[in-house]
């Protein structure tokens, strides 16, 4: 058994399943409602697969209006709703409970408007992150946030988790690229926030919707900023035999005035696994940086010259500047296969605490010490430019007690991240995974202020309850719902 507890499902709601399903089927087309116990199993978990529970029913509406109908029925019948995009959350953000109805965006897949003059695209939120870029790239544009799961993850989930990616050092995360939404409130009311203009008329409600993990509303349409594609991009790979020097190199690059689009970091355990798997030709050293810059050929050459000039005096074991598309692909190949390579040899848990760039070295050192203390293995691969760590804790899911040990080690690492001035999660979200760790980062008053925002949007706490906020802190609010 694992250590994250979910509330006991409401037996009274489960008993009313037929009635609830009948109400949904009466108001919605038959193919949008899934209630068969065999079929709902497909929705029992997201990418945090250690936790599973089939929902009461699943609704996959085809329009915003159908989302509104489904949500209003659940609201009126006192049934909890778990919003779901593509189900790729690593934090259990879309984990169902036995007494909940999933409302998913899987069938909301239309592109509604493309406007190159004003540089935005309006889509239904069930489209995948990568397909947004796919829609506009032939015309020379792209959508900047690029989470690793971009092939599968939906814009709905990107908005819920305020997703980032490797390139957010330059382009920002979802909240910086989201201009507007159409969304459904718990009452079934459909509202629009923002649009093609660049700021809010009053309170920035859009700002608090983004990253709210399905706690406030269900977003069905999004207006996203698209950008002209850069003329080109090339990376340089720099290996160091001292993690501290690598961290120093990152800070020097940032301070120098060159703003790379990405600075990625891999430590020795990660390099070893990746080399065995992808044969990317990485030097086996303590720390490997991949620094990518953009621009015209001359601009790229200028920036890479500056970066290598900063790195050389630090005594790197290797500097490899890409000179072609093939060489760029080879440098990125290992980094991009890191998670897959790790998955081949082990089960792993991926954390995403973020620390100040100045605390990277200390944090890495502490993670190493904690690994010895907890007798666990860990590999580090992360976005160094913005301090977003991704320690991969290796464990064996089939070995009793191993997941619990991994979770305990993970909690200790996130504690270090908070202690050095960082946070529990940089881009994955809190979900259930880090819910009860929130008290490490926030005071009761801090949490109360956040929960009262939920009170306003969702007075009965039916949207994605038992996520984000520590169970103890939200207990009274969740219990008063019926």
């Amino acid at each position: 058994m694992s250590t994250i507890v979910m509330p006991v499902p409401d037996a009274e709601v489960i008993e009313r399943k037929d009635q609830i399903v009948a109400a949904l089927c009466a108001a919605l087309p038959a193919e949008t409602v899934i209630s068969d116990a065999f079929e709902t199993r497909a929705y029992e978990c997201d990418a945090l697969t250690a936790y599973r529970c089939p929902p009461l029913a699943v609704v996959l509406p085809r329009t915003t209006e159908e989302v509104a109908i489904a949500l209003k029925i659940c609201h009126d019948m006192g049934v909890n709703v778990v919003p779901r995009g593509a189900g790729t959350s690593l934090a259990g953000g879309s984990l169902p409970t036995a007494d909940s109805v999933i409302i998913g965006t899987a069938r909301l897949r239309d592109t509604l408007e493309i406007d190159y003059d004003n540089r935005f695209i309006r889509v239904q939120t069930g489209v995948t992150n990568l397909s947004v870029t796919g829609t506009v790239e032939e015309d020379g544009f792209f959508y900047a946030p690029d989470p690793s799961s971009q092939l599968a993850c939906a814009i709905a989930g990107n908005i819920a988790m305020n997703s980032g990616g490797a390139h957010c050092l330059k382009y920002g995360v979802t909240t910086n690229n989201l201009l507007g939404v159409r969304m459904v409130l718990v009452t079934g009311e459909i509202v629009t926030l923002g649009g093609a203009h660049m700021d809010a008329p009053g309170l920035d409600l859009l700002g608090v919707i983004c990253g709210s993990e399905g706690q406030l509303a269900i977003v069905t349409e999004a207006t996203l900023r698209i950008l002209p594609k850069p003329e080109g991009a090339r990376p340089v790979m720099i290996g160091f035999d001292d993690a501290e020097v690598a961290g120093d190199c990152v800070a020097r690059i940032i301070k120098s005035g060159v703003l790379p689009v990405a600075i990625e970091y891999m430590d020795r355990p990660c390099i070893r696994v990746v080399e065995n798997y992808a044969k990317a030709g990485y030097p086996l050293c303590e720390a490997l940086l991949i620094v990518e810059v953009e621009g015209s050929e001359a601009e790229i050459a200028d920036q890479l010259d500056r970066i290598t000039a900063l790195a050389e005096p630090l005594g790197p074991v290797e500097i490899r500047v890409s000179k072609s598309a093939e060489e760029s692909a080879a440098i990125w190949k290992g980094r991009k296969s890191a998670f897959g390579a790790m998955g081949q040899i082990n089960d792993y848990m991926c954390l995403d605490g973020t620390v100040p760039v100045s605390a990277l070295q200390f944090t890495l050192k502490r993670i190493g010490e904690l690994a010895i203390e907890h007798q666990m293995e860990v590999a580090n691969v992360f976005h160094a430019g913005d301090g977003n760590m991704h320690p991969l804790i290796l464990f064996d899911a089939n070995k009793p007690g191993d997941l619990e040990r991994a979770e305990a080690f993970g909690a200790a690492i996130l504690g270090v991240c908070v202690d050095v001035g960082g946070c529990l999660t940089g881009e994955h979200g809190v979900g259930i995974e880090k819910r009860d760790l929130m008290i490490r980062q926030f005071s009761p008053d801090d949490l109360e202020a956040q929960m009262q925002v939920k009170d306003v949007f969702d007075p009965h706490w039916i949207l994605n309850p038992a996520k984000v906020f520590p169970l103890a802190a939200s207990a009274a609010r969740r219990q008063r719902q019926h």
């Binding site: 406007d115 190159y116 003059d117 004003n118 305020n162 980032g164 957010c168 050092l169 920002g172 995360v173 909240t175 910086n176 409130l185 509202v191 093609a196 203009h197 660049m198 008329p201 009053g202 309170l203 920035d204 700002g207 608090v208 983004c210 709210s212 706690q215 002209p228 800070a251 940032i254 301070k255 120098s256 703003l259 015209s296 601009e299 973020t354 100040p356 760039v357 100045s358 913005d386 301090g387 977003n388 001035g421 960082g422 946070c423 999660t425 940089g426 994955h428 809190v430 880090k434 929130m438 980062q441 926030f442 008053d445 801090d446 109360e448 202020a449 956040q450 925002v453 306003v456 984000v468």
Partner: protein, 386 residues
């Protein structure tokens, strides 16, 4: 005027707010006072100043992070960043020339009003650079949100709510901002003799290129396109843009004149030392020509465009009717976007919706948030919404 209360610590400020909440005494929150003319007048309130909460508490150029107390003068921060060749990339506007106000802009005021400038177009607004903050809500509780790191999705993003809330949800006491390296070089392409429509068409074309145009404004019949970057980059981009836009007749401004040029755009200098009310309209860029044309014809407005057309500044003649605001919003209604009255006498601000009225469900959410964060309605009451 009553001398403001000047608490010198967050704890002292909490005490002030708790006492005011208990007595239901309205508070008027004062930073440097340079933007106190924005919003509905706050009636008969005790002023509370952030002047006692001042100073940069952390600056790490290698981490692009600055933390400062709310009352810190913006100039002090900008001077400190300059020593490391960094800056606040959102280019906060100085409202003093436009509003004819005195005082010293503070970082707390910049955040509370989400003040940005021409570079908002490319770099983002103040809210996009706000990494975290601390504030005292209307209960007198100290709340922190966000943090000091570049990526943070831990819990709800209250920073965005507070940024631009003009103190109505809480009194900001400390902010963490992302800094960026200052561009090595900058230059501006100038195109004369264009109409609003021609200027916006030019902006759309230029902003659709990968040359990272960081300013696109149309002032006094001149369209301006700003290019910034590394030394070699700027020349290259100027050349490429000139070719692409097929406008060899453009002129180029750089050097000291260049800094002044964009400071003037940022601060809407064109409308300084003038009379009449000034509105700020946020719209879809390609809608701007139709809107400015309507404003000019029906209200005799003088207009300036920024953000490639997405931001319209409109000065109305002094004898414009009191209902001009309603008329402006009628022009916007079929198109989307919103209008805010930025400069006007207290009487006009008292009888006009200074901020765009929201549709009922959204107004309900905003009112609900204010009621939770400030149940006694003591923080700048009425400034944003009655």
């Amino acid at each position: 005027m009553t001398a403001p209360l000047t608490p010198d610590s967050e704890d002292a400020l909490c005490d002030v707010v708790r006492a005011a909440a208990a007595a239901a005494t309205p508070l008027r929150i004062v930073g440097g006072g340079t933007r106190s003319g924005i919003g509905r007048p706050v009636a008969a309130a005790t002023p509370v100043s952030t002047a006692g909460l001042s100073g940069v508490t952390l600056y790490e150029p290698g981490a692009m992070t600055l933390i400062a107390k709310a009352g810190t003068p913006l100039a002090e921060i900008e001077a400190l960043l300059a020593t490391e060749r960094q800056y606040l990339a959102f280019e906060p506007m100085d409202h003093r020339p436009l509003l004819g106000s005195n005082g010293t802009p503070t970082v707390g005021g910049v955040v509370s009003a989400n003040v940005s400038g021409p570079r908002r177009l490319r770099a983002g607004a103040c809210r996009d650079f706000l990494l975290g903050l601390r504030f005292v809500d209307g209960h007198g509780r100290l709340v922190k949100n966000g943090g000091r790191v570049m990526k943070n999705v831990t819990g709800l993003d209250l920073g965005k709510l507070l940024c631009g809330a003009y103190g109505t949800l809480g009194i900001v006491t400390e902010v963490a901002l992302k800094t960026l390296p200052r561009p090595e070089r900058a230059a501006t392409l100038v195109f004369d003799g264009l109409t609003d429509a021609q200027a916006v068409a030019l902006f759309c074309k230029a902003l659709g290129t990968p040359f990272e145009v960081s300013g696109a404004a149309f002032v006094d019949g001149r369209a301006l396109l700003r290019i910034e970057g590394l030394t070699d980059q700027v020349g290259y981009r100027i050349d490429r843009l000139t070719q692409l836009l097929e406008r060899p007749d453009r002129t180029v401004i750089k050097g000291a004149d260049h800094t002044r040029l964009w400071d003037d755009v940022r601060d809407v200098r064109t409308f300084a030392d003038s009379t009449g009310s000034v509105w700020r309209l946020s719209v879809k860029a390609t809608d701007a020509p139709a809107i400015t044309s309507a404003l000019q014809q029906s209200l005799g407005a003088q207009t300036v465009l920024d953000w490639g057309g997405g931001l319209i500044w409109a000065r109305l003649p002094q004898d414009a009717p009191a209902a001009a605001g309603a008329h402006i919003r009628q022009i916007l209604a079929p198109l989307g976007g919103h209008a805010t009255l930025i400069r006007a006498g207290a009487d006009l601000r008292a009888e006009t919706d200074v901020f765009q009225p929201e549709p009922a469900p959204l107004a309900g959410l905003s009112a609900g948030l204010r009621a939770r964060f400030d149940p006694q309605n003591i923080l700048n009451p009425g400034l944003m919404a009655v």
